[in-house]
Amino acid sequence: MSPLHLCLAFSSLLFAVGLTGALSRGSSILVLLGLELMLNAANLNFIAFWRFGPAGSPATGVVFVLFSIAVAAAEAAVGLALIISLYRNQRNIRLPEATRLKG
């Protein structure tokens, strides 16, 4: 099992954990954190391929991880602002109950 396969396995597992967390937990903050985990799993893949990918690969992987970290930060900020306004409108942050936006 080459280190690349190990890294990919590690990131897939982290992704799966994140997904399960997002699906199972009721509190919207945890759903958000599950999402963050999934994003981190993706970053893992980038660095894994940068480190173990074809030789002499340029640093685009690293640059891309930097950008994805920045986007994740922005997403977290907006997500939490949404949760706060959700809380203000619904008095609690239980996601399954926030179903006003429907067909």
Binding site: L19, A22, L23, S28, V31, L95, P96, A98, T99, R100, L101, K102, G103
Partner: protein, 674 residues
């Protein structure tokens, strides 16, 4: 102090200034306007006198000075002033007669409220006439020509509150305008053919040999030369203005204007302008004589029209009752004589007759004016009579004018100028008809003039106004005396024995010939004059007419002809019947066309549009909309079905994503996509 061509423009400018001053002076500034007008004319007279001396000093030279009027494209429209014996003589005649008539009008128009306005129009007319006479460019001449037309309209219609005067002014303006159209077309043709409208321009002028050669070539359809075509068109203008046969109808009606106006404009100057125009452009008219193949020469047409007008004028004058109408028709006939002279090729005789005619016709009109003034506007000769007693000087001047006009031999100028014309007509090779018309004219002229003299001054006063008549004041009689001297004296300038005037005009020395060198022709004309006078004397002097109501002796002799001639040969009615009806018919037809045909068409189109619109909306309503609604209803139903899937639960969507991912991945792995 001889004015050079460059300063010649001052002559027309002074009366123009006077006209301007007159226009701005208020109605009560009577003395100021009159003084300005007379001073203007006197200035013009003095200057033209000096100009005459200058021109006569070098008779063969056409001194001109041209200038740019305005820039047109890369070239420029050029105008110019001309000083040669012809223009100098005319200019002197116009200004002299003008001054005399201005002085006459002082007395005549004395109690008229619009006194200032009258003098303003007179000065305007004088400056326009002088401009025409001195112009070196057909365009400048045309400008003066048009202003003269305007002035004549204003003056004829001076008493515009009289409907007859207003109608006469309109008629005069429109008829001359028809003639002017021909002149304008001729001018345009001339400009396009030669590129310039200047008469003399140092070799490039229209009347100079170089350019004329080009014009004289027979290039038009039917072998006509360009110069002939242009000549005929210019002749239309002249015919209109000088009251020749087809376009003479306006002149008798123009007598509605005040008598000084009739004297100045419809006797001496304006009507003479047509003759002057053809005399000025004589080289152009005679250019096609040299061509053998030209079917008709311009000058033959001129001669023909001139002969007809002379005969026609004289005949109608015999049967007129109104004092001024008789003189008007006499003017038409004399102008016919001048055109005849031009037609037969001797423009010098025409100009000589023009000069003499100006003096004695002005004299006759002013005498008539003084009669009318004295009899408080009584113009019908049937009610006049017996005025030789109370109005001695007027009678004497009227008699001098009558004898000059009739052509009483040796003493009076009319005889010499008429003889010159007859001699020229007899020398004409084309045909001798104009000669016979001329001779017939001589008899008739003598006859109707004696009829007029005896009718007005002979016999007993046939109306109270005539009875109370008394001699006019000095301002009226003095011009009469001066003019009568002119009528007698001017003749001696052009006699065959001492042809001073002819040599001045043509520019080369003409040998003096014996006085009666015409031989039989002169004797014949003297006999004819005598017969005319005798017949007149016989019919009117001795037996005369007792009361206003009696019939005219001639009428008793030939009532049908007399009535026909009295009604001016029904030419006006003929015009009305033909042209008048044609216009009203075409107007009616145009109105019908516009209202019924085009209006109908537009209305039909409108209806068509409405029908199509309603048809369209019907189809749209029933067909398309219905189908469209059905489709939207179906869409809405399926939309609602799908919206059920939108539960609002975020995690629900995430689960769906996960499941879909798994399914797709499996498909990708095992579906053989690898």
């Amino acid at each position: 102090m001889i004015p050079t061509p460059a300063q010649v423009w001052l002559i027309p400018c002074l009366p123009l200034l006077a006209a301007g001053l007159g226009a701005v002076t208020p109605r009560r500034g009577r003395r100021l306007a009159a003084a300005a007008a007379i001073l203007g004319m006197l200035g013009a007279l003095v200057l033209s006198g000096f100009a005459l001396c200058g021109a006569l000093a070098a008779p063969s030279v056409h001194a001109f000075s041209n200038f740019d009027w305005f820039a047109l494209g890369d070239g420029a429209v050029r105008l110019g002033w001309l000083l040669d014996p012809l223009s100098a003589l005319l200019c002197a005649m116009v200004s002299l007669v003008g001054v005399l008539i201005f002085v006459f009008s002082l007395g005549y128009m004395d109690e008229d409220p619009n006194f200032t306005r009258f003098f303003c129009f007179l000065s305007l007319f004088a400056s326009a006439m002088l401009c025409v006479v001195l112009a070196n460019s057909l365009l400048l001449l045309f400008i003066g020509w048009e202003v003269m037309g305007l002035a004549s309209y204003l003056l004829i219609g001076f008493w515009f509150h009289k409907p007859a005067a207003a109608a006469a002014a309109k008629k005069a303006f429109i008829v001359t305008r028809i003639g002017d159209l021909g002149l304008l077309l001729g001018m345009v043709w001339l400009y396009s053919a030669t590129g310039s409208l200047l008469f003399y321009d140092g070799g490039r002028g229209v009347l100079e040999a170089g350019v004329l050669g080009g014009l004289a070539a027979p290039g038009l359809a039917g072998g006509l030369a360009a110069s002939t075509g242009i000549g005929l068109l210019v002749f239309c203008g002249a015919a209109g203005k000088s009251g020749q046969f087809p376009l003479h109808v306006w002149l008798p009606d123009a007598m509605e204007g005040p008598t000084p106006v009739s004297a100045l404009i419809h006797a001496a100057t304006m009507v003479a302008a047509g003759v002057f125009l053809i005399a000025r452009m004589f080289p152009l008219f005679s250019a096609d004589l040299a061509l053998p193949s030209v079917p008709v020469h311009a000058l033959t047409v001129v001669a023909g029209i001139g002969a007809i007008t002379a005969l026609l004028g004289a005949a109608i004058a015999v049967a007129q009752q109104d004092l001024k109408r008789v003189l008007a028709f006499s003017t038409i006939s004399q102008l016919g004589y001048m055109m005849l002279a031009l037609g037969v090729g001797s423009w010098v005789a025409a100009i000589f007759h023009l000069l003499t005619h100006a003096f004695f016709k002005a004299l006759l009109f002013l005498s008539a004016g003084s009669v009318i003034h004295a009899t408080h506007h009584e113009q019908d000769i049937r009610r006049l009579g017996g005025l030789r007693g109370p109005m001695r000087t007027t009678f004497a001047t009227f008699a001098v004018g009558m004898m000059a006009l009739a052509g009483v031999p040796f003493l009076f100028s009319g005889f010499w100028s008429k003889e010159a014309i007859l001699r020229a007509a007899s020398g004409w090779t084309v045909s001798s008809l104009p000669l016979y018309a001329g001779l017939a004219g001589v008899v008739l002229t003598a006859f109707y003039m004696t009829r007029l003299l005896c009718g007005v001054f002979g016999g007993e006063a046939r109306s109270p106004a005539a009875a109370h008549a008394h001699e006019s004041p000095a301002t009226i009689t003095v011009p009469l005396v001066v003019l009568s001297i002119g009528s007698i004296g001017l003749g001696f300038l052009g006699t065959p024995a001492w042809p001073w005037l002819q040599s001045q005009l043509t520019g080369e020395r003409i040998p003096s010939r014996p006085l009666l060198e015409g031989g039989g022709l002169t004797v014949l004309s003297i006999v004819l004059v005598a017969t005319g006078l005798g017949a007149g004397w016989a019919l009117y002097a001795r037996r005369g007419r007792a009361t206003a109501g009696d019939k005219d002796p001639l009428e008793a002799a030939a009532p049908g002809i007399f009535a026909f001639l009295g009604a001016r040969m029904k030419i006006d009615e003929a015009y009305a019947a033909t042209v008048g009806r044609l216009c009203s018919l075409s107007a009616a037809f145009a109105d019908f066309l516009d209202r019924r045909v085009w209006g109908g068409l537009v209305a039909a189109l409108g209806k068509l549009g409405e029908g199509a619109g309603s048809l369209n909306s019907g189809a749209d309503e029933a067909g398309i909309n219905a189908a469209f609604d059905a489709v939207t209803r179906g869409l809405r139903r399926t939309g609602r079905a799908y919206s059920k899937a939108q539960t609002g639960e975020a995690q629900g969507y995430l689960r769906a994503l996960a499941v879909a991912f798994v399914v797709l991945a499996l498909l990708a792995l095992f579906g053989g996509l690898r």
